[in-house]
């Protein structure tokens, strides 16, 4: 978990990623572009077009100012979640045998194709998401989602998570320190499991009570379910240009897909 978190900005709400050209674009445009890309790419089925989409996402990486190494490592981490499926698919999909493993396991041509399709789709989409949306700091993302008319509850959930995840982490760290101060050393035994279970349970109880106190304090300041968002989003000429270019690129992907499917 720690290595996943370590890529997060040191201060939640602070800017993420370097000063790439993408940084100046309006967050709403970036969120919409990433969503459109995801919809189009999941609809593609011919492998060359999918590969082109993945290359396009990769080509956007330098524009984002994200460090290539850690970003690609994060993408590979996502692959870990679908790895089992990718390995099993060739052996479970019926079709023409392409490869026979010792022990009688048969990998089919259709299965291999399906696995490649899913791997390309997932990686292209996740990479584009990281480039366009992952470079937004969480607060700006929240503002963009609110302005895109997403349910306010979801936006508040995101903004409160950003605000309080550090508080919770600090509380967890202090309690773990207090446990160590009382000579606790985790091991594979009942005492450890019970103690860690109680730690998690107590964190949940405290978080719940804290949330009630926060709500009470917000009500004292006149909260009625609306948080006024102070943002300075503006959709300018650069954003329009980006939108048009991005839409053209997506159009090209669709046209190639249609042409290839007809030819087949």
């Amino acid at each position: 978990m720690a290595h996943l978190l370590s890529l997060a900005p040191p201060h939640p709400g602070g800017a993420t990623g370097g000063p790439g050209p993408i940084h100046g674009l309006d967050p709403r445009g970036r969120v919409l572009a990433a969503a459109a890309f995801a919809v189009v790419v999941t609809g593609l089925s011919s492998l060359p077009v999918l590969a082109l989409a993945a290359v396009a996402a990769l080509a956007m990486l330098p524009l984002s100012g994200l460090p290539p190494g850690p970003t690609l490592r994060r993408m590979v981490m996502m692959d870990g979640f679908i790895l089992v499926m990718l390995v099993l698919l060739p052996f479970t999909t019926p079709g023409t045998p392409a490869l026979i493993l010792p022990g009688g396991l048969v990998a089919t041509r259709e299965g291999l194709r399906l696995a490649a399709e899913i791997a390309l789709t997932a990686n292209a989409v996740i990479l584009m998401l990281m480039v366009l949306v992952g470079t937004l700091d969480p607060v700006r993302l929240g503002h963009a989602l609110a302005r895109l008319r997403l349910p306010l509850r979801l936006v508040h959930l995101l903004l409160f998570t950003v605000r309080y995840i550090e508080v919770l982490r600090a509380e967890y760290d202090r309690t773990r320190q207090a446990m160590r101060a009382r000579a606790f050393r985790p091991g594979s035994n009942r005492h450890t499991w019970v103690s860690l279970g109680q730690l998690v349970g107590m964190m949940l109880v405290r978080a719940l009570e804290r949330s009630e106190r926060i709500l009470q304090a917000m009500k004292c300041r006149g909260f009625t379910g609306q948080i006024p968002l102070l943002d300075d989003l503006s959709f300018g000429a650069g954003d329009r240009l980006f939108g048009v270019l991005f839409a053209l690129a997506l159009g090209c992907l669709i046209a190639m897909e249609v042409a290839l499917v007809r030819a087949a």
Binding site: R174, A181, A183, L199
Partner: protein
């Protein structure tokens, strides 16, 4: 007289911030009671955590009971003999009931369940807290929580007691009760407290923490 706990030339800074400690040194002898005094944010709590190896200093050495402590295994040994009462009782109490929370330390020391529970009952009696034995820690009052955290540490029978703002949020009655308990303890005590009256009645010596270093209190009583 050899010191129970010795900190020498401790340097420490939180990442991205100005250094908190810059050459702090301190020695606590058997039966000695010392108070650390200093403004908010001068690193008093940090120093206590460093003493137990919960955070590591950038520079400086820590000796406990004559043994140098450098690695986690050294500190694991010394934490069995040095108790720390945290500033916020909620950081310390995490088990559902008072008895379970007090038994946590003795179980970590390797005692059997029965022995641990015997010790729990003994310490509850010593602190006159037996009525709280089966209460839910989360529902205790602030004063009760404070006394229970003291019990969770005393039950391990430490030789040194580090107290971080123990009178925080205590009413006068509970404060007097805490003071009486602490005065009767034989342990060496290192106390962090902003309360001059409380310090005056508990400790023999005060050290002032300012600009990352410890020195004699500039305004002795």
């Amino acid at each position: 007289m050899s010191a129970l706990l010795e900190l020498d030339d401790i340097h420490f800074g939180y990442p991205g911030q100005a250094p908190v400690l810059a050459g702090a040194s301190l020695a606590l002898g058997p039966g000695e009671r010392i108070a650390l005094v200093g403004a908010n944010g001068t690193g008093k709590s940090t120093l206590l955590r460093i003493a137990l190896g919960l955070i590591r200093p950038a520079r400086g050495t820590i000796r406990a009971f004559g043994q140098p402590c450098a690695r986690e295994t050294d500190f694991q040994q010394m934490r069995r003999r040095v108790g720390l009462v945290f500033q916020d009782p909620d950081d310390q109490l995490f088990c559902p009931t008072v008895a379970e929370d007090i038994a946590f330390g003795p179980l970590n020391l390797g005692l059997s369940r029965a022995e641990a529970l015997r010790r729990v009952d003994a310490v509850l009696e010593q602190l006159a807290l037996t009525a709280l034995r089966n209460r839910v820690t989360h529902h205790l009052s602030g004063g009760e929580k404070r006394l229970v955290t003291l019990a969770t540490v005393l039950v391990m029978r430490p030789e040194v007691l580090l107290l971080d703002e123990p009178t925080n949020a205590l009413d006068p009655e509970n404060e007097a009760r805490l003071l009486a308990i602490l005065q009767a303890l034989p342990q060496a005590i290192l106390l962090v407290s902003h309360d001059p009256a409380f310090r005056a009645r508990l400790v023999q010596r005060e050290l002032h923490l300012a600009e990352g270093r410890l020195g004699p209190h500039p305004h002795p009583r």
